[in-house]
Structures are given as C-alpha cells and as structure tokens.
Amino acid sequence: MPDATSADQTLVTSTETSLPEEVTRTRTIDDLVQEAGLLRSRTRLLGDDVADTDRQARDLHQQMVNRQLDSKARRLAKSGMSGLLKELAECGFAWRDIAALARVSVPAVRRWRQGEAATGEHLLDVAHVVALVETLQDDHLVTDVASWMEMPLAQEAPLTAIDLAVAGRLPDVVDVAAGHAAGEAVLDRWRPGWREEYRSEFEVFEASDGQPGIRLTAADGNDA
C-alpha cells in the first residue's frame, strides 16, 4: 500500500498527522501489520528528531550559560580574592572544596585568606565559583547553595554538584538546578558506567555507639 504522506518512509519533517486513509477495500492483517509498523517507524524517527533538537538546544543553552558565568565572573573578580573567599565562606563551603574548585591546594587557599596575592587565573577561577553561586541563588532559587551542592546527584552514588563543578561542568550544575536535567541524566553524560562504579555489597549504618559503620548488605535487603 503506498504511503499517502511521503514516498520516502524514513523522512519525517514535521509533526503533521495525516488523515486516516479512506478505506476502499477490506484491509488484510498484513496491511494492518505494515501500517502499524510504519507508524512505529515514524514515531521513532520523530523521537530521534526531538532528541537531536533537544541536544542542540542543550548545547546552545550551556554555551550561553558558560558565557553568562564568564561575564559574571569578570565582574565579580573586581572585588578581589579576599572578598570572593569571604562570600564562599559565608555560604558554608568547605575550604577543601573551594581549593578543588579553584584547582589549587588547601594550603594555597589558606595563604590567600591570609592575604597572599593570587594569580589572575586563580582569581578568575574563584570568581567563577561565586558566579555559579550567584546564578543558582538568583536565577534558580537555591537558598543554601553549599548544602545543595553537597547533596548526592543520585541515590546510587555519592557524586555531587561540587564534583561536577570541579570537573568544569558548571552548566550541568545549572541544568540540574533549573530542572532541565535530572542528576542521573547528567551523571550518565559525564561518567557513563557510574552505577557500576559505585555498586557495592556494603552499606553504611549507625552502630550502637551512634557512630557510622560499614557492614555487608543482606541479600534480602534487610539488616545484615
């Protein structure tokens, strides 16, 4: 049976839905199987088109987010290293995380806190972190950014938005905060195989002294 929409059955160029073909004869089961199969092919191709458009939109959005963060960082850098560090400290960030985000050692951050001059590159790195904090607070209503960034992105792994940011994926952090992407989806893009990487036969539990401990997870999911 010829296709009323297009001779090329692999081409889907719009979401237009064709009217049901006028039935001029009783269709056989073979006809119906073919039609249903064609419908599935169209749906799949349409889905591929949508996914591709979504990828392009995400790439464009992330490029723009990066530019926005760059612009904010250049403005924020004017306040100097001590001002930037003070802002991050008041948010409750650990110096260890600030050091990782700025790609320096913890002692280097301590020296900055004590007034040692930082290079322009490091100043801009720290300003980017503050720019990210500002974006999350102002544009995405994250009230406690440090706390939010320390929460695992997915239940099955301890990876956090801080880990994402340390890896330089600031737009991904914004994506999660904006609700454009789930933590799991971002982890799939960043570290395919993360679920296997963090799968474990152990679990952390609260021991009788009130402190955390590690034990084997029972096969039935109950306490070991």
């Binding site: 960030f93 650990a94 913890v106 679990e203 402190q211 955390p212």
Partner: protein, 229 residues
C-alpha cells in the same frame, strides 16, 4: 581483587613539607619525621594509622599512645602494581619531593607516644582520598575484605569535617592570642554542646544537608571569640 589507586600523587595529600599547618589536629595519615615505635623502630619516619575516633578518648582528648606504622623509602613501582599487590605497604609517592617513593609498612605498627608526635616534625598530612586509600589497604591486609573507598569516605566524613573545622577555628582564635590547646578545648566544648532537643553541631555533621550550616556556625563563633579577645 583490585584495590583503588591514585590518579595523581597530589590527590593523596592535603599538605606536605612547609605547607603542613601546625594548628591542624593530629589525624589519620599524618606523617612524622622521627618517631619511636616500641618494638619496631627507635626513630625514623612514621605515619598515624589509627582511626580518628580511636585516637581520642573522653572530651576528645588524645590518648597517650597512637597507632602508627613505620615509613621508609620504597623501590620504584608502577602505579598499577599497587592495585594488585604489595598489600602490606601504603605507597606515598612524592612524599618529600618529585620522583621519590616512600612506603608505610602496614605490618610494622605500634603505639607511638602522642607527646612525641605533638612535639615532633609533621612532614605531611594525607587528604581524605589518601586516608580512604590507606584504610582500604589496611582493611584488606588485616581481613581480606575489600571495602570501596566511597563508603569509607561516607563513614569518615564527620571526622574529616571536624578536623578541618578545628584547624580553621584554631587559625582564627589563635591569631587573636589564644594558645592552641586552649583554642582546641574551646572548640571541643562548643561543637558537641546541646543546641536544643539534643541536637548538636557535631551530630549535624553526619547529615550532608547540614554540614554547610555547621561550618557557618563554627566560623561565626570563632570570629566572635577572636574579636572578644
């Protein structure tokens, strides 16, 4: 069986050499220049391998002795070899300088005097990652049980955080003239204090959602005490 290894030596240490902060509390993974370990060595390098909780007794006071392992120069070994062997050793690449390797001997252990550690020269402090790798190797050596480092991290985070906070607190309070012991004692009284309903800042460190709030509270209090002189 594959134990985890480091990507870059830098990730193993929070500080080395002159970068080691004198006000940092004693902690697992600290390496000292010259330590006597009874029955093991009369002097030489050593690393603390005790768990942070077992080093301290009531009111967080350090025990008189701390479990340490002898440290000595090691033979150059490829990084991947550490994942599948040498389980009795904790590799310490670039501990003192580039292209060098020291090892902590996990079978040569004993309690060193805490006083001698406190008065000795600390030449390195392991990072959280470094401590986790050390613990994973030590557990495997003792029990043949392979525990993922991310779960060791989950268990140790409150202790890591508390050590960082004490270091920062001491930095601020001592700059205003307090002695280190006095600053530490103030911190150890402040952080477990009941803030209502049995809730404490120390307890809040167990919850990732609350850690930033604990840091802010400690920083604010340290500044207040520092300003009050």
């Amino acid at each position: 069986m594959t134990l985890e290894v480091w990507q870059s030596p830098d990730e193993l240490y929070v500080a080395r050499g002159e970068d080691v902060h004198a006000l940092r509390p004693l902690f697992t993974g600290d390496v000292f220049e010259d330590v006597a370990i009874p029955g093991i060595q009369s002097g030489g390098m050593a690393m603390i391998i005790a768990h942070p909780c077992s080093m301290r007794g009531q009111e967080a006071r350090l025990e008189p002795g701390v479990l340490t392992a002898a440290v000595e120069p090691g033979e150059k070994t490829g990084k991947s070899a550490w994942a599948r062997g040498y389980y009795g050793l904790m590799p310490l690449p670039e501990l003192t300088e580039a292209d060098t390797l020291f090892v902590a001997r996990l079978d040569d252990i004993g309690k060193a005097e805490t006083a001698s550690l406190l008065s000795g020269t600390r030449i390195a402090c392991l990072s959280q990652r470094g401590v986790n790798l050390l613990q994973q190797r030590f557990i495997w050596r003792l029990t043949r049980l392979e525990v993922p480092t991310h779960q060791l991290q989950e268990v140790s985070v409150p202790a890591f955080e508390e050590a960082d906070l004490l270091e920062e607190w001491s930095d601020v309070v001592c700059a205003a003239g307090s002695a280190q012991e006095e600053a530490a004692a103030e911190f150890e009284a402040f952080i477990p204090a009941d803030r209502g309903g049995g809730r404490t800042l120390q307890g809040d460190l167990h919850d990732p959602q609350l850690r930033s709030t604990v840091r802010v509270a400690c920083r604010t209090e340290a500044k207040r005490r520092s300003a009050a002189g």
